[in-house]
Subunit: 440 residues, 2 copies
């Protein structure tokens, strides 16, 4: 990675041959080399408490962005155009599946109701607070025209916490209760945000209709139950096939391949039926680790455990590397450079609203949960509430994907208010990740 | 997979929404479900000597092709358009890497010179025989206009043996000498065919020039040495990094991720420098299994061994499933249906030439090799020569990919002679795989 001269030549080539296949080979090379670099540097920085793989990948991504920006003479900063498909079809499923596969099931199910409260109601409260706040404050900020569905979409975008990052800041072994609460909330939250976002996109919001709320609650319940059921059924089916046919007799590879393929199948089946793939693959992971995993040979057990973790790890690093690189995309900042003040104001307003929106549900809902628990030991203490509040502040890949979906057309931003929203999302993601992480 | 009605509805949808994202979700679902089906059925048929995973996948692919063809009312038979990128960038590297990773190194290097003779010279002889034969016989077959570069390209296409299939018919444990010879030849052959094909594509063949041969030999030697060196260096680098930094101390996942990423990096680096990625990733696999693998923790060792085998297994099944499905693509057979006699004549001519071309180098080169060996024990017996001749007859994914590259434009075939060449390639691939396999 120290061959600066060749890199320059490559990047030049990248622009000369931007239509050819070779250009994509060049970007893939750089990207894979950067991923290797992230792993090595992440390992070297292991000792430092305030660094982790996500921040390393973000910083390496930012640096690469600067280098590419300089070498392409300000034309571009990233190697790949952000594709929602790439994220939702290839990178997210292994991360969420692995989370379900490795989650401590006892803790998770003991706190199931609290998790659901936080994940579903909490996200709604958070979205409502952010949308209202944005409507009140943005009028004074001269951004340009945004309509009511834009405001609600902004609420949904910034109500999506980053379950990927959460996995890295809390330790499952040291603080099992907090981990299961915050992570479980993150998974349900992912689903809620996506549902909310789609509901907002597809509803006609020009007329206010009380049945919309009912309709929304109904579709959320259907989505949650159907997705969970699909995940559980696929997981059980894989356990049944592997136990019944006794694959291990002949081949470890078939067992491993079948587990991976069926896990992935659960995710894309959910997408096929317009359900929440995230919820489905999460519950499929739980069922697979509880049933399927105990029916395979010893070497399959070791292989799947580490292979799933590795896939998830690479996907996470990939996302953060990409977000870092994309943060400098010149096209989006062009609109902002005329009025840096506005951009700073928008980003800080959003950050404050995120803080407020999260506080607005963590403390009241924790209070409600504590009321239902008889034993003092099971209460969520105020200190724990603060950690839950803080740990869920990070905004990550889901927010980015939703913002790109809402405010860009095939990767490009044309309108000024939309460009400002994209750059603000990037700022909030970078800031919240960099600031929230090191505290732990 | 027994929900025939829903399948019908899905396929209908596929055509209604052929431009939308949901269509690709539908095809992915079907494809992943079919892959699972292949694994389960392949396991159930394990006892039968004349069946293996490749044939199962081919037959399932053919059946699915028929179903889709009927349901789409004769419009199409496949779910995905064949993409060379998909094949060369995602499916081939894990297969070849795994072959290098699992190959018995002692046997391979003991027979290195014989393997090189077969793989490099043999392929040239085979290509020359096929090209000459095609030039002589095709004139009488009323196919349409093909020029000299087309004839040479056909020679290169049908000189490419299928190293993937070879892995399944010979057992490394039972016949180590034959396995190493045939498989080693297959890997070198892959590289030679691709080089040959590219040389033919890029040369001006209207004027005959004796320096072309010299130029070709020079570029082949450069390609072979540079590709091998790149693979060895990347493998050694990975071993050095993992040993030096002692990754296993902290995390198995990082070791596994780094091995996978660096193996893949070697392949795309080779593509970047226009080398043979197949050779590079094969030697990278050998070096990694010899050095890197011994420096990682026990669980990383188990994980990588099985994870690589699983990836390779899934990629192979994917290819055969696809080839089976694509075999019925109606667009290509339309031109042929006017003159079924011509098509049969072309395919059988090609099959005979493949048999002849392989005989033309296996027996003479084996004779030459035997001359250099002093001990009678090291000689390749006539029976073994026949097995080598027969086992390398299969034509597979590389032939398909080269034929698509030469005779189609972004997946579609317009000219009659080109369509005939594509259908003949499919026929030869299906026939050679189905007939050659069961003999073992």
């Amino acid at each position: 990675m120290d061959n600066g001269f060749e890199l320059g030549a490559w990047v030049q080539k990248l622009y000369m041959l931007s239509t050819s296949d070779h250009a994509s080979v060049v970007s893939m090379n750089l990207f894979v080399a950067l991923l290797c670099g992230c792993i090595v540097i992440g390992h070297l920085l292991e000792g430092y408490r305030w660094m982790n793989e996500s921040i390393t990948a973000l910083i390496i991504g930012l640096c690469t962005g600067v280098v590419i920006l300089l070498m392409s003479r300000g034309k571009s900063s990233h190697l790949l155009v952000f594709s929602e498909d790439l994220f939702f079809i290839y990178l997210l499923p292994p991360i969420i599946f692995n989370a379900g596969f490795q989650v401590k099931k006892k803790q998770f199910f003991r706190n199931f109701i609290t998790i659901m409260l936080f994940g579903a109601f909490g996200t709604l409260i958070s979205c409502a607070v952010i949308s209202t706040g944005v409507m009140l404050f943005f009028k004074n900020l001269e951004i340009g025209y945004l309509d009511i569905s834009d405001y609600l979409a902004i609420g949904a975008i910034f109500a999506a916490t980053d379950s990927v990052c959460t996995l890295q800041v809390l330790s499952q072994d040291e603080t099992p209760l907090l981990y299961s609460l915050v992570f479980g909330e993150g998974v349900v939250n992912d689903a809620t945000s996506v549902v909310l976002f789609n509901a907002i996109q597809s509803s006609d919001l020009t007329t206010i209709d009380p049945t919309i709320a009912l309709h929304f609650i109904g579709s959320f319940l259907y989505l949650f139950l159907a997705s969970t059921l699909l995940g559980v059924l696929t997981g059980l089916l894989s356990a049944f096939i592997i136990k019944k046919l006794y694959f291990g007799r002949h081949s470890t590879d078939r067992e491993v391949a079948l587990m991976i393929l069926m896990a992935y199948l659960s995710y894309i089946l959910a997408e096929l039926f317009y359900l929440s793939g995230i919820l489905t693959v999460f519950f499929c992971g739980i069922v697979m680790s509880h049933y399927t995993w105990h029916n395979v040979t010893e070497s399959s057990r070791i292989t799947t455990k580490h292979a799933f973790a590795t896939l998830s790890f690479v996907a996470e690093t990939f996302i953060f590397l990409y977000v870092g690189m994309d943060a400098l995309d010149i096209e989006k900042w062009r609109f902002v450079s005329d009025s840096p003040g506005t951009s700073v104001a928008v980003s800080s307003t959003l950050l404050c609203l995120v803080l407020l929106g999260r506080a607005a549900f963590v403390f009241p809902l924790s209070f409600l949960t504590n009321l239902t628990k008889k034993s003092q030991n099971e209460h969520i203490t105020f200190g724990q509430q603060v950690i839950i509040w803080w740990a869920g502040l990070m905004r990550g890949a889901v927010s980015m994907a939703l913002a790109y979906n809402k405010f860009t057309t095939s990767g490009h931003t044309k309108l000024r208010p939309h460009a400002i929203m994209i750059t603000s999302t990037i700022t909030v993601v970078l800031f919240s990740t960099m600031v929230t992480n090191p505290v732990f």
